[in-house]
Symmetry: C2
Protein backbone atom coordinates (compact mmCIF):
# COMPACT_ATOMS: atom_id res chain seq x y z
CA UNK A 1 0.00 0.00 0.00
CA UNK A 2 1.52 3.26 -1.13
CA UNK A 3 1.99 6.36 0.98
CA UNK A 4 -0.76 8.12 -0.95
CA UNK A 5 -3.15 5.26 -0.44
CA UNK A 6 -2.47 5.20 3.25
CA UNK A 7 -3.04 8.91 3.52
CA UNK A 8 -6.31 8.58 1.66
CA UNK A 9 -7.38 5.79 3.96
CA UNK A 10 -6.59 7.99 6.95
CA UNK A 11 -8.61 10.80 5.44
CA UNK A 12 -11.54 8.47 4.91
CA UNK A 13 -11.33 7.09 8.43
CA UNK A 14 -11.27 10.52 10.01
CA UNK A 15 -14.10 11.78 7.84
CA UNK A 16 -16.20 8.81 8.89
CA UNK A 17 -15.58 9.60 12.53
CA UNK A 18 -16.06 13.32 12.34
CA UNK A 19 -12.41 13.78 13.26
CA UNK A 20 -10.51 16.57 11.58
CA UNK A 21 -7.39 15.47 9.82
CA UNK A 22 -6.10 18.99 9.27
CA UNK A 23 -3.27 19.74 6.83
CA UNK A 24 -0.84 20.00 9.73
CA UNK A 25 -1.85 16.63 11.11
CA UNK A 26 -1.82 15.08 7.67
CA UNK A 27 1.67 16.42 7.17
CA UNK A 28 2.93 14.75 10.34
CA UNK A 29 1.26 11.53 9.26
CA UNK A 30 2.80 11.76 5.80
CA UNK A 31 6.25 12.25 7.27
CA UNK A 32 5.82 9.16 9.42
CA UNK A 33 4.48 7.10 6.54
CA UNK A 34 7.28 8.08 4.22
CA UNK A 35 9.96 7.50 6.83
CA UNK A 36 9.27 3.77 7.00
CA UNK A 37 10.92 3.74 10.36
CA UNK A 38 10.11 5.23 13.77
CA UNK A 39 10.80 8.93 14.15
CA UNK A 40 11.28 10.97 17.29
CA UNK A 41 9.11 14.04 17.77
CA UNK A 42 12.07 16.29 17.12
CA UNK A 43 12.96 14.44 13.93
CA UNK A 44 9.45 15.11 12.71
CA UNK A 45 9.84 18.70 13.78
CA UNK A 46 13.02 18.98 11.73
CA UNK A 47 11.29 17.50 8.70
CA UNK A 48 8.48 19.98 9.01
CA UNK A 49 10.85 22.89 9.24
CA UNK A 50 12.26 22.12 5.78
CA UNK A 51 11.59 25.12 3.63
CA UNK A 52 9.35 26.86 6.11
CA UNK A 53 9.70 28.85 9.23
CA UNK A 54 10.49 26.65 12.16
CA UNK A 55 7.69 25.27 14.26
CA UNK A 56 7.66 24.75 17.99
CA UNK A 57 7.54 21.35 19.72
CA UNK A 58 3.93 21.62 20.90
CA UNK A 59 2.79 21.73 17.28
CA UNK A 60 4.20 18.29 16.63
CA UNK A 61 3.17 16.84 19.97
CA UNK A 62 -0.38 18.02 19.46
CA UNK A 63 -0.58 16.49 16.03
CA UNK A 64 0.82 13.25 17.40
CA UNK A 65 -1.70 13.28 20.21
CA UNK A 66 -4.49 13.46 17.66
CA UNK A 67 -3.01 10.76 15.45
CA UNK A 68 -2.50 8.48 18.44
CA UNK A 69 -6.10 9.00 19.54
CA UNK A 70 -7.27 8.08 16.05
CA UNK A 71 -5.10 4.98 16.03
CA UNK A 72 -3.24 6.25 12.98
CA UNK A 73 0.14 6.10 14.67
CA UNK A 74 1.68 4.18 17.56
CA UNK A 75 4.16 5.29 20.14
CA UNK A 76 7.17 3.08 20.77
CA UNK A 77 7.94 3.41 24.44
CA UNK A 78 11.41 1.93 24.32
CA UNK A 79 12.48 4.36 21.62
CA UNK A 80 10.51 7.46 22.53
CA UNK A 81 9.47 7.45 18.92
CA UNK A 82 6.42 7.20 16.72
CA UNK A 83 5.47 5.03 13.77
CA UNK A 84 2.47 4.95 11.50
CA UNK A 85 0.02 2.12 11.96
CA UNK A 86 -0.55 -0.40 9.19
CA UNK A 87 -4.13 -1.28 9.99
CA UNK A 88 -5.82 1.70 11.55
CA UNK A 89 -9.32 0.58 10.52
CA UNK A 90 -10.00 -1.59 13.52
CA UNK A 91 -8.63 -1.90 17.02
CA UNK A 92 -5.85 -4.46 17.26
CA UNK A 93 -3.19 -5.59 19.67
CA UNK A 94 -0.16 -3.60 18.69
CA UNK A 95 2.99 -5.57 19.33
CA UNK A 96 6.32 -4.49 17.95
CA UNK A 97 9.53 -6.14 16.94
CA UNK A 98 12.31 -3.59 17.02
CA UNK A 99 15.62 -4.32 15.32
CA UNK A 100 18.45 -2.85 17.31
CA UNK A 101 20.75 -3.10 14.28
CA UNK A 102 18.84 -1.39 11.48
CA UNK A 103 16.17 0.37 13.49
CA UNK A 104 13.30 -1.05 11.47
CA UNK A 105 10.15 -2.01 13.28
CA UNK A 106 7.65 -4.72 12.44
CA UNK A 107 4.16 -4.58 13.85
CA UNK A 108 2.61 -7.91 14.61
CA UNK A 109 -0.89 -8.44 15.90
CA UNK A 110 -1.02 -11.67 17.78
CA UNK A 111 -4.44 -11.99 19.31
CA UNK A 112 -3.33 -14.96 21.40
CA UNK A 113 -0.68 -12.93 23.18
CA UNK A 114 -3.10 -10.11 23.77
CA UNK A 115 -5.73 -12.47 25.12
CA UNK A 116 -3.29 -14.24 27.41
CA UNK A 117 -2.02 -10.95 28.70
CA UNK A 118 -5.50 -9.62 29.32
CA UNK A 119 -6.25 -12.85 31.12
CA UNK A 120 -3.21 -12.59 33.35
CA UNK A 121 -4.07 -9.00 34.17
CA UNK A 122 -7.66 -9.90 35.00
CA UNK A 123 -6.50 -12.71 37.28
CA UNK A 124 -4.46 -10.17 39.18
CA UNK A 125 -7.50 -7.97 39.56
CA UNK A 126 -6.43 -5.49 36.92
CA UNK A 127 -8.75 -3.75 34.51
CA UNK A 128 -6.38 -3.30 31.59
CA UNK A 129 -6.68 -0.25 29.40
CA UNK A 130 -3.46 -0.19 27.41
CA UNK A 131 -1.01 -2.93 26.57
CA UNK A 132 2.57 -2.20 25.63
CA UNK A 133 4.47 -5.06 24.05
CA UNK A 134 7.83 -4.41 22.45
CA UNK A 135 10.52 -6.91 21.63
CA UNK A 136 14.04 -5.69 21.04
CA UNK A 137 16.15 -7.98 18.91
CA UNK A 138 17.86 -8.41 15.58
CA UNK A 139 15.87 -8.89 12.43
CA UNK A 140 16.46 -11.55 9.80
CA UNK A 141 18.20 -9.25 7.38
CA UNK A 142 20.64 -8.00 9.99
CA UNK A 143 21.84 -11.43 11.04
Amino acid sequence: MSAEERLERATRLCAGRGARLTPQRARVLRILIEAERPLGAYEILAEMAEGQRALAPPTVYRALEFLLAQGLVHRLETLNAFIDCRHPERPHPAQFLICSACGRVVEIDDEAIAARLLDAATQSGFAASRKVVEVIGVCEGCR
Copy 2:
Protein backbone atom coordinates in the same frame (compact mmCIF):
# COMPACT_ATOMS: atom_id res chain seq x y z
CA MET B 1 10.34 -10.45 52.61
CA SER B 2 11.63 -7.39 54.42
CA ALA B 3 13.72 -4.64 52.95
CA GLU B 4 16.73 -5.85 54.93
CA GLU B 5 16.29 -9.39 53.70
CA ARG B 6 16.08 -8.26 50.14
CA LEU B 7 19.20 -6.20 50.51
CA GLU B 8 21.03 -9.14 51.99
CA ARG B 9 19.89 -11.33 49.16
CA ALA B 10 21.19 -8.78 46.68
CA THR B 11 24.50 -8.68 48.50
CA ARG B 12 24.76 -12.45 48.36
CA LEU B 13 23.87 -12.56 44.69
CA CYS B 14 26.47 -9.98 43.77
CA ALA B 15 29.14 -11.61 45.88
CA GLY B 16 28.48 -14.91 44.15
CA ARG B 17 28.92 -13.27 40.77
CA GLY B 18 31.96 -11.22 41.59
CA ALA B 19 29.91 -8.06 41.09
CA ARG B 20 30.55 -5.16 43.41
CA LEU B 21 27.46 -3.91 45.18
CA THR B 22 29.13 -0.77 46.46
CA PRO B 23 27.59 1.38 49.20
CA GLN B 24 26.38 3.82 46.60
CA ARG B 25 24.69 1.13 44.55
CA ALA B 26 23.25 -0.50 47.65
CA ARG B 27 21.85 2.85 48.66
CA VAL B 28 20.02 3.26 45.37
CA LEU B 29 18.69 -0.27 45.71
CA ARG B 30 17.54 0.39 49.27
CA ILE B 31 15.69 3.50 48.20
CA LEU B 32 13.88 1.55 45.50
CA ILE B 33 13.05 -1.30 47.84
CA GLU B 34 11.69 0.97 50.52
CA ALA B 35 9.67 3.04 48.07
CA GLU B 36 7.42 0.10 47.17
CA ARG B 37 6.55 1.91 43.98
CA PRO B 38 8.46 2.92 40.88
CA LEU B 39 10.73 5.92 41.21
CA GLY B 40 12.17 8.16 38.54
CA ALA B 41 15.91 8.67 38.45
CA TYR B 42 15.53 12.20 39.73
CA GLU B 43 13.32 11.07 42.58
CA ILE B 44 16.07 8.70 43.63
CA LEU B 45 18.52 11.53 43.28
CA ALA B 46 16.42 13.68 45.59
CA GLU B 47 16.25 10.88 48.16
CA MET B 48 19.99 10.51 48.08
CA ALA B 49 20.54 14.19 48.57
CA GLU B 50 18.75 14.10 51.94
CA GLY B 51 21.21 15.22 54.53
CA GLN B 52 24.20 15.17 52.22
CA ARG B 53 25.64 17.33 49.56
CA ALA B 54 23.74 16.94 46.34
CA LEU B 55 24.81 14.34 43.83
CA ALA B 56 24.78 14.65 40.07
CA PRO B 57 22.48 12.65 37.77
CA PRO B 58 25.19 10.39 36.34
CA THR B 59 25.76 8.97 39.81
CA VAL B 60 22.25 7.62 39.95
CA TYR B 61 22.13 6.54 36.33
CA ARG B 62 25.34 4.60 36.74
CA ALA B 63 24.10 2.85 39.83
CA LEU B 64 20.88 1.99 38.01
CA GLU B 65 22.82 0.67 35.04
CA PHE B 66 24.65 -1.70 37.35
CA LEU B 67 21.50 -2.79 39.15
CA LEU B 68 19.71 -3.37 35.85
CA ALA B 69 22.61 -5.46 34.58
CA GLN B 70 22.45 -7.55 37.73
CA GLY B 71 18.73 -8.01 37.38
CA LEU B 72 18.14 -6.35 40.73
CA VAL B 73 15.90 -3.68 39.32
CA HIS B 74 13.68 -3.28 36.28
CA ARG B 75 13.02 -0.28 34.16
CA LEU B 76 9.42 0.63 33.38
CA GLU B 77 9.45 2.11 29.91
CA THR B 78 6.02 3.66 30.04
CA LEU B 79 6.86 5.54 33.22
CA ASN B 80 10.54 6.26 32.72
CA ALA B 81 10.96 4.83 36.17
CA PHE B 82 12.63 2.03 38.04
CA ILE B 83 11.44 -0.62 40.45
CA ASP B 84 13.22 -3.29 42.42
CA CYS B 85 12.84 -6.86 41.26
CA ARG B 86 11.16 -9.42 43.47
CA HIS B 87 12.98 -12.49 42.23
CA PRO B 88 16.43 -11.50 41.09
CA GLU B 89 17.92 -14.97 41.61
CA ARG B 90 17.00 -16.34 38.22
CA PRO B 91 16.10 -14.90 34.86
CA HIS B 92 12.37 -14.50 34.40
CA PRO B 93 9.95 -12.82 32.05
CA ALA B 94 9.28 -9.49 33.62
CA GLN B 95 5.77 -8.33 32.87
CA PHE B 96 4.21 -5.44 34.68
CA LEU B 97 0.75 -4.34 35.64
CA ILE B 98 0.77 -0.61 36.27
CA CYS B 99 -2.12 1.02 38.08
CA SER B 100 -2.79 4.44 36.65
CA ALA B 101 -4.76 5.40 39.75
CA CYS B 102 -2.45 4.59 42.65
CA GLY B 103 0.81 4.16 40.79
CA ARG B 104 1.52 0.74 42.25
CA VAL B 105 3.09 -1.87 40.05
CA VAL B 106 2.70 -5.62 40.16
CA GLU B 107 5.27 -7.82 38.52
CA ILE B 108 3.92 -11.01 37.03
CA ASP B 109 6.00 -13.69 35.38
CA ASP B 110 3.87 -15.54 32.95
CA GLU B 111 6.03 -18.00 31.08
CA ALA B 112 3.28 -18.71 28.59
CA ILE B 113 3.14 -15.11 27.47
CA ALA B 114 6.89 -14.96 27.19
CA ALA B 115 7.03 -18.18 25.21
CA ARG B 116 4.26 -17.10 22.85
CA LEU B 117 5.95 -13.78 22.31
CA LEU B 118 9.31 -15.35 21.65
CA ASP B 119 7.61 -17.69 19.24
CA ALA B 120 5.93 -14.86 17.35
CA ALA B 121 9.22 -13.01 17.12
CA THR B 122 11.04 -16.07 15.85
CA GLN B 123 8.39 -16.63 13.20
CA SER B 124 9.04 -13.12 11.97
CA GLY B 125 12.76 -13.86 11.75
CA PHE B 126 13.62 -11.94 14.89
CA ALA B 127 16.25 -12.97 17.39
CA ALA B 128 14.75 -11.46 20.52
CA SER B 129 17.00 -10.12 23.22
CA ARG B 130 14.73 -8.08 25.44
CA LYS B 131 10.99 -8.21 25.95
CA VAL B 132 9.05 -5.27 27.29
CA VAL B 133 5.53 -6.04 28.46
CA GLU B 134 3.62 -3.44 30.42
CA VAL B 135 -0.10 -3.24 31.00
CA ILE B 136 -1.62 0.03 32.09
CA GLY B 137 -4.88 -0.29 33.94
CA VAL B 138 -6.63 0.06 37.26
CA CYS B 139 -5.88 -2.32 40.11
CA GLU B 140 -8.46 -4.10 42.20
CA GLY B 141 -8.13 -1.77 45.16
CA CYS B 142 -8.64 1.32 43.05
CA ARG B 143 -11.88 0.17 41.49
